[in-house]
Amino acid sequence: MTGGSPAQHPRATAALGVALGVAFTVCFVTGLISDLIQEPRAWLTWPARPRDLYRWTQGAHLVSGIVSIPLLLAKLFTVSRKLWVWPPARGLAHAVERLALVPLVGGSLLLLLTGLLNVFYWYPFPFSFTTTHYWTAWITVGALLVHLGAKLPVARAALRGPAAAAAGGQDVLAQDRRRFLATVGVAAGIVGVSYLGSIVSPLRALAVLAPRRSDAGPQGLPVNKTAADVKVVEAARDPAYRLQVIGAVDRPLHLGLAELRARANREADLPIACVEGWSVGARWRGVPVRALLAEAGARPFTHVVVRSLQRQGPYAGSVLNRPHAMDPDTLLALDLNGAPLHLDHGFPVRLIAPNNPGVMQTKWVRSLEVR
């Protein structure tokens, strides 16, 4: 290699490749998990326990994604001179490997960019975020497999081989390279820890760079959509409000606020864990869904459809599978941290269940339909 920065050395590329490989794997697996829960498959019943599982998988998705941004840019920097090699391909394998870089690098950039824009609620792109992010991830991971097939032996040699031992010596270039890697590590660490601050409550003060703080919102809890935004203010405050328990039940229930309040006898410490990664624990008080199902005389069921006063949009309802519906801590909550639920948190009642994505903790609940 002639000239170039000491950072542009296969050893630096390989070290960043390993870090990026770990981050991308965590991000892909946790992303798939989130998709599986929200688009249930017949072969998977997402359990209600452990309580905080989704909180950690989705937090890992957010943090591994954000630290991938400096890691990816640094890795591309270490190989930027190779983009212009001539001839562009030496043989079929080389051509395949290089062609796969288009979906690999393009897909990676697009995933990290759209993910970042999404958590900042900025949608300059015309396609739907979730669906496109999901399929782009498959394309990128496919290209990553091709890339690994070509580069795994190269990276292993760069990190372990005899040439690497010589290159890893005490010379100034090796020192510069280590300093470059350490700097990228510090940069990734700063953004990673700041985002961790929107997940781990004791680190809350560090969330200065993140688009969410776990304490910013009414009653010290973030709100994703306000009541005014989804136009439920009037319906939620209507004195004629009745919660309906219907479907495969012997005695359909129509309960007003006072009747619900009389049944609100259970407290549970449960987190709100958003698909966008932020999460926070809270103490909820409400009516156990299980008790309502028993009171209504629910017949054997597979799931419960929860519908909101919010009629439009993807979050106008959710599905509780059997383990979630039967968990004693799954509540229709009326109180949050000792005070009546704020309108933006779902007054008169909201669903709160353990190990459940935030978008499925339906607010302003109007009915439970047993199926």
């Binding site: 290699m1 542009q8 050395h9 296969p10 954000i66 840019l73 640094a74 591309l76 983009l83 394998a93 490997e97 796969a100 288009v102 690098v105 897909g107 950039l109 960019l113 970042l116 609620y121 900025w122 792109f125 015309p126 396609f127 739907s128 669906t131 496109t132 399929w135 498959w138 394309i139 991971v141 496919g142 290209a143 990553l144 497999l145 091709v146 690994l148 097939g149 070509a150 032996p153 190269v154 990276a155 040699a157 760069a158 040439a163 470059f180 940069a187 700063i190 969330a207 200065v208 760079l209 688009p211 703080r213 910013a216 009414p218 973030p222 709100v223 959509k225 306000t226 005014a228 935004d229």
Partner: protein
Amino acid sequence: MTGATDGSPRPAYGRGFWPAAAAGGLVMAFGGWGLLGHAAATMPAAWARWLAAALLLHDLLLAPALLAAGWLVGRLSGGWRAPVRAALVVSATVVLVTLPAFLGDGRTTQPGNTSVLPNQYGRSLALVLAPVWAVAILDAARRTRRAGSRRRGVHRGPAAG
């Protein structure tokens, strides 16, 4: 193994390459099938434009800018080079991931929702970057002084390092 030296004339491929390429091709095909199968949501033509734009922006703008910045830092006097380079890498990262807060319209999507972008991001940048640059400047001053004393032939004990 020629992998440790760049620019080897013939890239060597292990036995695992073609099986990995085949598996990767299948996964990519699955992703492409899904993308095209959900065209109403994914808008494949717009998607392709965004993918190309991301590649071009990186390869023609961001990467050359990084190389140019690296070259400029290389022209600084010895003691300043490493600390300034490190501080620039951290600053660029932090600014880049915060940019959507300044350029985007996230806050206006839900007026009245105090949970959306609750930080003052200009202040956040100052808060994070001020200590980074303070450390860099202190480190540069230390390096410059040490280089100066070395030139004057002053020997210092290891404890002073």
